[in-house]
Symmetry: C2
Subunit: 340 residues, 2 copies
DNA sequence: ATTATTGATGTAAGCGCTTACAAATAGGGT
DNA sequence: ACCCTATTTGTAAGCGCTTACATCAATAAT
């Protein structure tokens, strides 16, 4: 005797508390619309039954999920970790849950993930960078899912974004490289196709060169995946160039760490023989030796601001503003003066 | 004229294709139960309407979500990254989606996340380590959600697990430290409370010492959070001990990286003056200098096997076996002979 | 020709929740 | 006393899907 023990439903709670399901629902979702005594009774029932609301049912009935989706290019390295963590923290503070998935830098996979997240009832989406098929935005509009772009700031874009100017930030770093006397500059960039951040960083270096009267076409550029080993390979290739570059600017810290490692293997001293720079200022930048001169991106600030803006959009409190985050040069040990 | 453009439903597709909703559903979920011609017509309708099934509705009706949840202690560093990636890859191959959340090493938060994941309809759960309140397992049982423990292997436990023996692995490394002549051994461990992996690693060191006739009580032990800076702090404390330890074994590579960094700041040469070891063999271990002597954990293998076992459990094909993964010592440069 | 069998499709009953609306109750003003 | 408003609670209609069961046609077996 006794029914099979199985997960209790709203109905079970209602019966146990001697009220209607509507009242239980109200106790859970808008407690102030229920009188104290009733609420107490309901909460006791919830407690003693060990009731957990069924999420799918709630989403379906309420057409709200209090869930935000984020699609990032990769989880493999720490590039997005800190910013995403901050994004999530802020979201949680505001009562939202974050669903993350990664696209492996593949537009097709990204489209797929977006559909999945929307199907799962995400109230809003965080996307990385602007470059993306227009159809995706139409799809999101049709499903009435607001989206926000991060890690990139482009006031020209019709889509709201929270981020920084990759070009300006990299340009500033490049100016400092040039100011240190470097003339033969090389760059190890991430794959620029479909990646406005990588594109911006390359553009920044070119602009700094042009502004200083250097021929931007002399930039020795290698594009490769954002992986340590890829950075190492690219560095090796670069070191074979004649004449050899005196400064290798990397698209991010991961690539720079790879370059540094390869320099060690090749017996090339950094920064005495070759200078190396990074971008992002993730934890790695401080661990490697020599510690990286890089561009510090305030990821936590970006994450928090993105969260606030996106929830405002979801709640109809904002039409979607664009927010610019400032970056800062960090001078550590991997960039040195070049004479000659 | 013309209705408001909004997301199409199963019903819209059914109308467009001139069939019932049941048929559309079958086309999507068991295509072979529908005749070719009909399927074609339905698929065309799906395509042209840009239909995406509503996940919540599907979960609710089918009581299956093809979603697996994983709660990991932290996403901050790379400890779990590779294993989780492999877990996800295998899951995707088998038609499942992974939902990840992190508990920040807080049991209360973990319980909360588990409830959330279950409420979201997770078909199965991946948990890290065995140490956890029994009530949680009861809850999971009641909701009929199978769970699998990873990153730890304990044939004694009543719960199935896929992992390795943290104690054995660390013991082996400690033996090698002792064999190198070290007698004054120190350890920087993660917080052991509620963390069977950290406990196991400490136990492993103690066992190796006892086995070699050393007094395990002479082990200088500091427990701290798994963060680079914490590792650095602990290392500094350890270096102030008199007599100073000649080998510092760290609970993982992150802590070891911190120790290495602090050694650099203190001007202590590793491994000439002090040896340092890690655990995990994450990417970091190879990047730092000197490269870490550590224990290699085949994270990818563990992730994939965990995924296969868990889906088997979800599909009722397995009662939950425990699988032991082998670890391997990696001798790099941070451990040296100690004479005297 | 008749009936049994098989396969394709339709019908409709939920899944567990939220919420518009209705109902009931309790004051407040006259 | 009366009516009006405000507050608390109940009633019941879905949300978009899956699936057990019913139906129907086509084929095989008698």
């Amino acid at each position: 005797m006794g029914k099979t023990r199985s997960a209790p439903t709203l109905n079970d709670v209602a019966e146990a508390a001697g009220v209607s399901t509507a009242t239980v629902s109200r106790c859970l979702n808008s407690p102030d619309r229920v009188i104290e005594a009733t609420r107490q009774r309901v909460m006791d029932a919830v407690e003693s039954l060990g009731y957990t609301p069924n999420f799918a049912a709630r989403v379906m009935a309420a057409k709200r999920s209090f869930t935000i989706g984020a699609i990032i290019p990769t989880m493999d390295n720490a590039i997005f970790a800190r910013g995403l963590q901050a994004f999530q923290d802020q979201l949680r503070e505001d009562g939202y849950t974050l669903l993350v998935s990664s696209s492996a830098y593949d537009p097709e996979a990204e489209r797929e993930q977006i559909r999945t997240l929307v199907a799962r009832g995400a109230d809003g989406l965080l996307l990385i960078g602007h470059a993306r098929d227009a159809g995706i935005y139409e799809y999101l509009e049709r499903h009435q899912v607001p989206s926000l772009v991060a890690w990139s700031y482009d006031p020209e874009a019709q889509r709201p974004s929270v981020g920084f100017s990759n070009a300006d930030a990299m340009c500033e770093l490049a100016q400092s490289v040039i100011a240190a006397g470097h003339r033969r500059i090389a760059m190890i960039s991430g794959i620029t196709e479909g990646n406005d951040r990588a594109q911006g960083r390359v553009e920044g270096v070119r602009r700094a060169m042009a502004d200083s009267g250097l021929d931007a076409n002399t930039l020795a550029l290698i594009e490769t995946d954002y992986e340590i080993e890829r950075g190492a390979e690219a560095f090796r290739q670069l070191m074979a160039f004649v004449p050899r570059p005196t400064a290798v600017m990397c698209g991010n810290d991961v690539l720079a760490a790879g370059a540094l490692r390869e320099a060690g293997r090749l017996g090339i001293r950094v920064p005495e023989q070759v200078s190396v720079t990074g971008f992002d200022d993730i934890e790695l930048a401080e661990i490697v030796s020599p510690a990286l001169t890089t561009v510090h991106v305030p990821h936590r600030e970006m994450g928090r601001k993105a969260a606030r803006e996106l929830t405002a959009m979801v709640e109809g409190k904002s039409e979607g503003r664009s927010i610019c985050i400032g970056t800062k040069l960090v001078n550590r040990c991997s960039l040195a003066e070049q004479h000659g």
